[in-house]
């Protein structure tokens, strides 16, 4: 993508292309661990969805449907906030595959 020169930029850091973060795959920041969704324990309270800083909780219909790993940074907030006795989201180790990440 061609980057604008300083003259082409909108005044005052205004970014008219709102929502452009969709191209920034924050999932590439994840290192060493990732959340794993265990639907059998999920009560669909949406706490994980509410707390996730990167909108990485997938929703289908009106139910939690898993994790979008393109944007999940592996921060663990969802697992921390999950209120069920048997957690519906648990953090598990993740092997980093640099070659895949660079794709």
């Amino acid at each position: 993508m061609k980057k604008e020169t300083w003259r082409e930029l909108t005044i005052g850091t205004i970014n008219l292309n709102a929502g452009n973060s969709v191209v920034n795959l924050t999932g590439t920041w994840r290192s060493g661990r990732k959340p794993e969704f265990r639907p059998e324990h999920c009560i669909h309270c949406f706490f994980c969805w509410l707390y996730c800083p990167h909108f990485a909780i997938k929703v289908e219909g009106e139910k939690i449907a898993g994790i979008n790993y393109d944007y999940c940074t592996g921060c663990g907030l969802c697992a921390e906030e999950c209120p069920t006795k048997e957690k519906a989201i648990v953090m598990v180790p993740e092997e980093i595959k640099l070659a895949e990440r660079r794709k």
């Binding site: 300083w6 850091t13 008219l16």
Partner: protein, 393 residues
């Protein structure tokens, strides 16, 4: 119709604020600018202004409110001094970076430590690289006039840069003068309607204000910001002329007093320029060809105008009401010496630091500087580049 009113500097600013009636005024009172905020609060209580008056928990928050309100699309002002301006520091850069035309009245005051409430320019000089336009006033009338012009300058589409108007703490802020106060309607017409470019309250467009920039965009955005203040000299000039045409008091970048035929010159900014004019008159009577140059605008620095006015002098003393510890002289001296570098014929130039913490500067001190200039002009020798006036040695 214009009226003559006895006002001190703070009241002059408050009077201008009442006439302009900005959408949002956010300020945290601090000596010596307290009365600006206090008087505006009274105006609000009396129903004389319609704008929102916000009194947050600190100056940092006051400037944050200004930034939010300006980003929302409002015409916004604040007032502060010294530590208050220092506490606003990080927000000053954000206001400038976001190109929000906020106007701030600064009753100039010394910075701690030691704690001191009196006038010097340390506070605004500390903000000199924040990206704000800086205009300094010599008296209450200038404070009033500069404050009105500041909105026009800040809000011009080619500028869109915050402006601060400095007026010396106590010497101007608390001294009463007869001020020509213009007609409310005339002032409103002069300032005109403010049209924000990207108001956040306009929900018909989607955009982001203040996103993060990494190494690939920060530099371009900063260069884009610099363009605003680079565009401002033309607008400052134009606004000063228009102000003169409407109200009879013309403004430019500098004020020259008996400078044209002078061989020696003193440069001084703010209230001390008034005393200096008296000193110049006395020295002229004693036969010395000396004049005064008073810069009105410090940012953008009018380097060409000042250099042209000084280049043919024999010797020049630049007086700074702030210090820049460890630097080669204080800010005004740095700028002026640098501005003269490209001229083959240029004066000998020295720096005096004066008036820190409100220390008086009297006619005799200007004369002391003048005597040194005579010596330098005669011998061509400078004993010391940086001196101190009215300091116990």
């Amino acid at each position: 119709m214009k009226t003559l009113k006895p006002l001190n500097g703070n009241q002059s600013i408050a009077e201008a604020a009442r006439q302009i009636d900005p959408d949002v005024i956010a300020a945290y009172p601090i000596t010596p600018s307290t009365a600006v905020v206090e008087t505006i609060a009274q105006f609000k209580a009396d129903g004389l202004i319609t704008g929102e008056f916000v009194c947050p928990e600190s100056e940092h928050s006051a400037m944050s409110v200004c930034i939010g309100a300006a980003a929302a699309g409002g015409r916004v002002m604040t007032a502060t001094s010294s530590q208050g301006l220092a506490l606003m520091w990080e927000m000053l850069y954000i206001a400038a970076g976001l190109r929000l035309p906020i106007v701030a009245a600064i009753a100039n005051r010394a910075l701690s430590a030691p704690i001191n409430i009196h006038g010097d320019h340390s506070d605004t000089m500390g903000a000199r690289d924040s990206g704000w336009i800086q205009i300094y006033s010599e008296n209450c009338q200038e404070a009033y006039d500069n404050f009105i012009q500041a909105f026009r300058i800040a809000e011009h589409p080619d500028v869109r840069t915050p402006v601060l108007v400095g007026f010396d703490g106590f010497i101007i802020s608390h001294s009463t003068e007869i001020v020509e106060v213009e007609d409310d309607e005339e002032v409103r017409q002069f300032v005109g309607e403010y049209l924000p470019l990207y108001p956040l309250l306009d929900t018909s467009r989607r955009f982001t204000v203040g996103p993060i920039d990494f190494t690939d965009y920060y530099f371009e955005h900063k260069r884009n910001q610099i363009e605003g203040i680079e565009n401002s000299p033309r607008i400052i000039e134009q606004v000063g002329q228009e102000f003169g045409q409407r109200f009879g008091r013309y403004y430019g970048f500098i004020d020259a007093y008996r400078l044209e035929d002078a061989e020696l010159a003193i440069v001084v900014m703010g209230s001390a320029a008034g005393t200096c004019k008296d000193a110049i008159d006395e020295l002229r009577e004693e036969g010395l060809k000396i004049g005064l140059l008073k810069p009105r605008v410090f940012r953008p620095f009018p380097h060409e105008i000042i250099a042209k006015a000084l280049k043919d002098k024999l010797a020049v003393a630049v007086l700074d009401r702030s210090s820049s510890p460890g630097a080669f002289g204080a800010p005004l001296f740095n700028e002026i010496r640098s501005a003269l570098y490209d001229y083959e014929k240029r004066p000998k130039i020295i720096n005096y630091i004066y008036g820190l913490g409100g220390r008086d500067i009297k006619i005799e001190h200007f004369k002391e500087a003048a005597q040194n200039l005579v010596k330098i002009a005669t011998t061509g020798r400078i004993d010391s580049y940086v001196g101190y006036l009215n300091l116990r040695e």
